[in-house]
Symmetry: D3
Subunit: 216 residues, 6 copies
């Protein structure tokens, strides 16, 4: 009944995670999404681009992505932008606006503004623009193992989520991308989670860079 | 029973606000402290230095501070460090450790690390050291009208708290420092709260720079 | 005849303010522009995009903009770029080059490079490119209430202009955008000016992030 | 009689330069001080520490400093703090307060907050604290050739002063420190001035990091 | 046979310098490229755009560029993108991928991410994307005299290369661009090299902002 | 004979690692020190403070530290400053000066300037001051798992060292601190090394923030 920290106890958070490509959400915030689900919150996932990459076809990627999404128990929304030809534009902002409005989203996780991959940077910019909607009270960027060091910016980890109870399912989801993910990726993802876990005095954690938080 | 956003519904946050001088807490986060109280959270306030300043004696300041603290309904803890001769040292860290441990503090608000006033910068450093205690899950710096622009750093406002229901009491608390506070201060404090209120789509808000947040 | 601070006494500054949309200049630097006028300086205003937005038609916006511009007593130059489809390109840089050269501009105010709105970020980039012209000795970004907190950067306020004598006319100009501006906007704009005013030991001020200043 | 840019035409700026050691002011802002003098402004110089360093005695340094100060035509104020044992404290802030108040200082140049030398960092902190005085409207940090790269921060050059007419006298002043300054120093100082001169489309310039500017 | 610092003694570094326009490489890192050559390393140079600029035709620029490249004794690779219409895209990334793969590049120098010229910023982004290739172990941005101060970012000089033995040839290469380069440019370039030389306790140096370094 | 990348092939690097407390060097850069040793470089280790901490006596810590140092095969130098009462002062800088001069040190690793622990921040400041010595050409800060997130700054990882061949000995050295180190620490240290290893396309790496590098 009373306010408890950042949200009313009666709040059932409505969370949106936006990746640039399938696997961004699994690598970046899957444990946190599972934790939100476990807490009774709504979870929606959107991917801003589609298309094959390197030797992997879109069919293959899409199938792997579906296997990952089953672990969360929802279907991902995949926007119709061609991978590598993505742009900051009003069309994508509008599509994100629609999702945010339809699902009354209050909490958003997305890829990092400083990432070396342009699809990631542009996805961030589109998400940021869509988050002007008044319902959105929290916006975070995800930390990802592989590309974050190849950047002229520095990931500013300030928010840590204990995902110890969800680490197995996170790894299972990442492994769904079997045409791409190697044991070295898994080791790095587990390793980063261990490292961030120390911050929470726990086993495994995911870290985020907060863009804004509002306690209404 | 279920997790709700950043804390368990069963959580009753235990909040500590640490000022360098009386009036820091009133100017920086009094609305947010009232909101925590209203939400049923524990609130503790500590001041790291004591002593007269300019033409104001400590007796005068202490009395004004007591009048302000009555609005929150608690007694402030005043550490025994002489104003202007404050240091970063283990004695103060220990005293803060004791408060954090005794009150099982999980959420801390304090003055800004980039402030031009050395008592503020050193208070931040001592608080940061004390926040190594595992119980602390949230640490924020307060935004203050008067000195923040005279700095070589920039206040990084990322967390906004709607204090519309508490603005009157906040102003009342600030006005308790009647030997010091002028109408111009009140206008600036109200003005900043209006400006930050726009971020929350509300009337009045306080802004904070987050140092870390943990969702356990 | 002698040099006085940053410019020769014989200098009559020639000021250009560049907004991305009508109302940017009114919200961001109208008080400062009025102060420049009052000091006998030339003032030119350019808007980089045109077009309706949300439910507001361009006709409506243009008429409101004209009403605002009358308070400054000049006509705004509106470049022919479609709102939301604006780009960083040589065409716009050329058009700004022409204005800077024709009016012998030495001082430029524009929107903030870190703003969440892409039209603002791109306008900044085009203005920055145009400011390579040797006549330009001062470049500033404006602080705006509404969007600045929704960003991954932080507005670095370092230059403060006392606009106490011009606050009424500034508010009058902002109110000209009657199809858009609400009392909450006015409160936030006045509030921010009060807050920044404390920095100047005055009633109302506008704040800017300096990009460069040259004292020749 | 009218306002001209940042200051009233009737303004006769009153400038204070604060070095940590003799030679800081000569290397960092001597050209700009000469330009202020040439423009009819008051110029005051203070040094925060005294004492021999390496093989150089204080007598030697003091004499060299006097020779340099003659070029500016004023006596430097030397505070009584021992070199290398300098502290951030109220005593020094008070002494700077007195100078600022006595000379009605409005414009201050000092050493850089990010310098690797602790005397420089502490001098900056003391100067910043003293600049809370309302008369001070401009505060800048100087760029210096020798130590600035050995730092964990980055000098943020934003203000450039054309000193082409004063470069000879600046070099003459630097050379006054003959027990210390080598041709390599002179080359580096001239080189930096050439490099910064390109920003002003001129021959020689000094660069500064602005902390704050106020146009009243 | 043993490892020596950052690379195996048996390593013969393979260096790529990428400019946005002819003359970027000469101004930014020509001394360092000559030093690599002198150390027996492979050096490759690529330019991402072509086309006339201002009053200079591409024929003229190309001829000047060839004269400069002769000093290094290699032919530059010029990609087929029109100056001023350059984009961040997969085509350019692919072309850079090919060069990196063909020449087994391990060390890359390019233009600065914070430069005011969009061709420079976009070239950096494309180079950064291409540097995801595993063979690349070092990526640096070059410091350039003319535009770096007209930016909202700050060049973060951390890597310094003593080019005293190569300064004459560097200046000769820069002078090859005789339709553009004036004595003022030469003075500024020499001046910056003198200034950075002080960091190396030498006569002339080039400075770089490191993006990443790997010691395998 | 010829120059190879950053140093002459004839160079035998002389490396100094400076910790604030025993275990800093093991956690932060032990793998890299072992790699330097393996490459035939000189390695020296200094600790700036001594004293018991929490329930651990200095005797206990010293013995553990000796066990760790045996793995590197050298004795650590322990300066005589009391833990927690450490200061930035000329005495410590002098002692570091002596070590640097005696061992002709060219490469220095130390604790991070932004660490929440004051002994770490002050050790960095003292080391930075000592690194003004001309022989020092490389200075790096170490990344450490436990405290780095509790800071108002962000660790800027740019230099990565593949330590796969040395990870076992690093872990063995960390485990020498048996009165303090728990399996959770080991997991976090291994995890961070795995995460940073991905940057090098290898198994395990240590990351550093470069302060400066010079190629003479």
């Amino acid at each position: 009944m009373s306010t408890r920290g950042r949200q009313k106890a009666s709040d059932r958070l409505s969370v949106l995670a936006v990746g640039a490509h399938p696997d961004d959400v699994e690598v970046g915030c899957f444990g946190t999404l599972l934790k939100h689900r476990d807490a009774g919150h709504e979870v929606t996932v959107a991917i801003t681009t589609r298309g094959g990459y390197g030797k992997r076809t879109w069919n293959q990627i899409e199938e792997e992505s579906k296997n990952a999404s089953k672990i969360l128990g929802i279907d991902y929304i995949v926007l119709d932008n061609k991978i590598g030809h993505y742009e900051m534009n009003w069309k994508t902002v509008s599509e994100l606006d629609d999702i945010i409005s339809r699902c009354a989203i209050d909490t958003v996780y997305t890829v990092w503004h400083g990432d070396s991959h342009q699809d990631h940077r542009l996805t961030f910019q589109n998400v940021l623009a869509a988050c002007r909607t008044k319902s959105v009270r929290n916006l975070y960027c995800c930390e990802m193992s592989e590309y974050s060091y190849r950047s002229n910016s520095t990931f500013n980890a300030r928010y840590f989520v204990d995902i110890s109870r969800f680490i197995e399912k996170k790894i299972q989801a990442v492994k769904a991308y079997k045409s791409y993910i190697t044991p070295k990726h898994i080791d790095a993802i587990l390793g980063l989670a261990r490292h961030r876990g120390l911050a929470c005095d726990t086993e495994y954690a995911e870290a985020f860079e907060p863009i804004f938080n509002i306690w209404k």
